[in-house]
């Protein structure tokens, strides 16, 4: 267990170092996030639809598609000179690769979300500060679910010729439950509804977290086998 965690840590640090140096996924993710927030804001008729009404949807569309860019990148960096084979030749177990990639992807998506959130407030003028802790919890829970399944599927997609196209196709059906939960919870939080109103959706996302993380960790070995 200790060796697996150590190897996972080294893999995560390496992935973050590469992204920090190249900034390819981060820059495109951020530009994408700003663009989606702005386009959705300006596309509505302000006399008919208030910004607050579309804010939860805009937030989660932004997070989801910006995160997709990072998830794609996670295994593309392994493909260029077949570095993943180099890792597989070491004693690091496949579980270490999964947890390392999962950790790095969480850091990447978390960074995109942390920067997008103030922009979201700026465009949509929503009082997130009143329920900030709860909103962060909802974002974290939904993010864990889609990063777990995204890490697994990006390892699968990278072995195909059209990896960038394959990942969204494979991932989007799995994203529906945590995404709907995230939108519902964000909407209720922004409306100022009490915590008791959120329990059902929180439990649902929590269940998806457990199911997706467990399934992804267990199936990762199968995906790596050729």
């Amino acid at each position: 267990m200790g060796a697996t965690l150590r190897a996972a840590w080294h893999i995560a640090v390496k992935d973050i170092a590469i992204e920090w140096r190249t900034k390819t996924a981060f820059a495109s993710g951020l530009v994408f996030a700003v663009l989606v927030l702005a386009v959705l804001f300006f596309s509505r008729d302000p006399t008919a639809v208030s910004a607050q009404d579309i804010a939860p949807g805009a937030l989660w569309v932004t997070f989801t598609f910006a995160a997709m860019l990072g998830l794609n990148r996670a295994f593309l960096i392994e493909r260029e000179l077949k570095a993943l084979d180099g890792i597989l030749l070491t004693p690091a177990p496949p579980a270490a690769i999964f947890w390392g990639k999962f950790g790095a992807n969480l850091a990447f998506v978390g960074a995109i979300e942390a920067i997008s959130l103030p922009l979201f407030v700026l465009f949509y003028d929503v009082p997130i500060w009143l329920r900030f802790g709860e909103l962060v919890l909802v974002i974290a829970m939904a993010t864990i679910a889609f990063v777990a399944v995204g890490t697994l599927l990006s390892a699968m997609a990278v072995r195909t010729r059209y990896a960038e196209l394959m990942l969204p196709l494979l991932l989007l059906p799995f994203l529906v439950p945590p995404l709907v939960g995230g939108v519902q919870l964000t909407a209720r939080l922004l409306e100022g509804r009490p915590l008791s109103d959120l329990a059902g959706w929180l439990k649902l996302i929590g269940a998806f977290d457990v199911a997706f993380v467990t399934a992804a960790a267990l199936l990762f070995q199968v995906v790596l086998d050729e």
């Binding site: 150590r6 170092a17 590469i18 000179l81 077949k82 030749l89 070491t90 004693p91």
Partner: protein, 226 residues
């Protein structure tokens, strides 16, 4: 190739492998002891790279077993490195996954492959020959008992080839077993102790090169293709 059980570094028995409906390896058996250097020859598409990947544990055989008595290092067509990281960072990363002390070992190997001066340059800026040298250093990090090389001289200029052949000679003198896939008889013939031909997935008998001209043995083996 008769080997003592205690000297054995690799025993492969009845290896078969198919890709879709094509048999790539058929009932391949092979045993290697300390100090054995097998030069593997054969026509294109004979299954040489597949055999190397199966022996390394990167591909699972459809039938048969591979017993590895010790650790394996591998240098393939692709360098298995990260272009965005420097040579030193790449080697440190893989050293950590091998759980070997990284600092001194990495510096020694960079010196050994003649890249100490370029240690802090990104490998994405390296020529094919330099990449190959970093890949060799990566394969040596954990002091493996068996080294697998797939076309190690491809893309190297005369000076880099000479350096690599000298390195391979020094590994042989230290008792490291090697399997080298190459048709470069002139340069690698003197490193090898045995030669075998793989054609249509079947491995021929292992010819000892003791007291024989490798070029003549190669010519005889390749005649079977005509």
């Amino acid at each position: 190739m008769t080997t003592l059980a205690t000297d054995r570094v690799l025993t492969a028995t009845g290896i078969s492998r198919r890709f879709a409906y094509r048999t790539v390896l058929a009932d391949v058996s092979l045993s290697l002891a300390r100090g054995d250097v097998l030069l593997l020859v054969g026509p294109n598409g004979a299954g040489k790279t597949t055999l190397i990947r199966v022996l390394a544990g990167l591909l699972r055989p459809a039938a048969g077993t591979v017993e590895r008595h010790g650790t394996i290092g591998m240098v393939a067509h692709d360098a298995m490195l990260y272009p965005a990281l420097t040579a030193r960072e790449n080697l440190r990363f893989f050293a950590r996954l091998h759980e070997v002390p990284d600092r001194e070992r990495v510096d020694t190997l960079l010196e050994q492959v003649g890249l100490a001066r370029r240690a802090d340059d990104r490998v994405g800026t390296f020529s094919r020959g330099m990449l190959q040298r970093v890949a060799i250093a990566r394969a040596l990090l954990h002091g493996p008992g068996l080294l697998l090389f797939d076309e190690p001289l491809s893309g190297l200029d005369a000076a880099a080839s000479r350096t690599l052949v000298e390195l391979l000679m020094s590994f042989r003198e230290r008792g490291t077993a090697m399997i080298i896939v190459s048709h470069e008889m002139e340069r690698l013939g003197r490193v090898a102790t045995h030669m075998a031909r793989l054609a249509a997935g079947r491995l021929g008998p292992l010819e000892s090169l003791a007291g024989r001209d490798p070029a003549a043995v190669f010519a005889t083996l390749m005649q079977e293709d005509q």
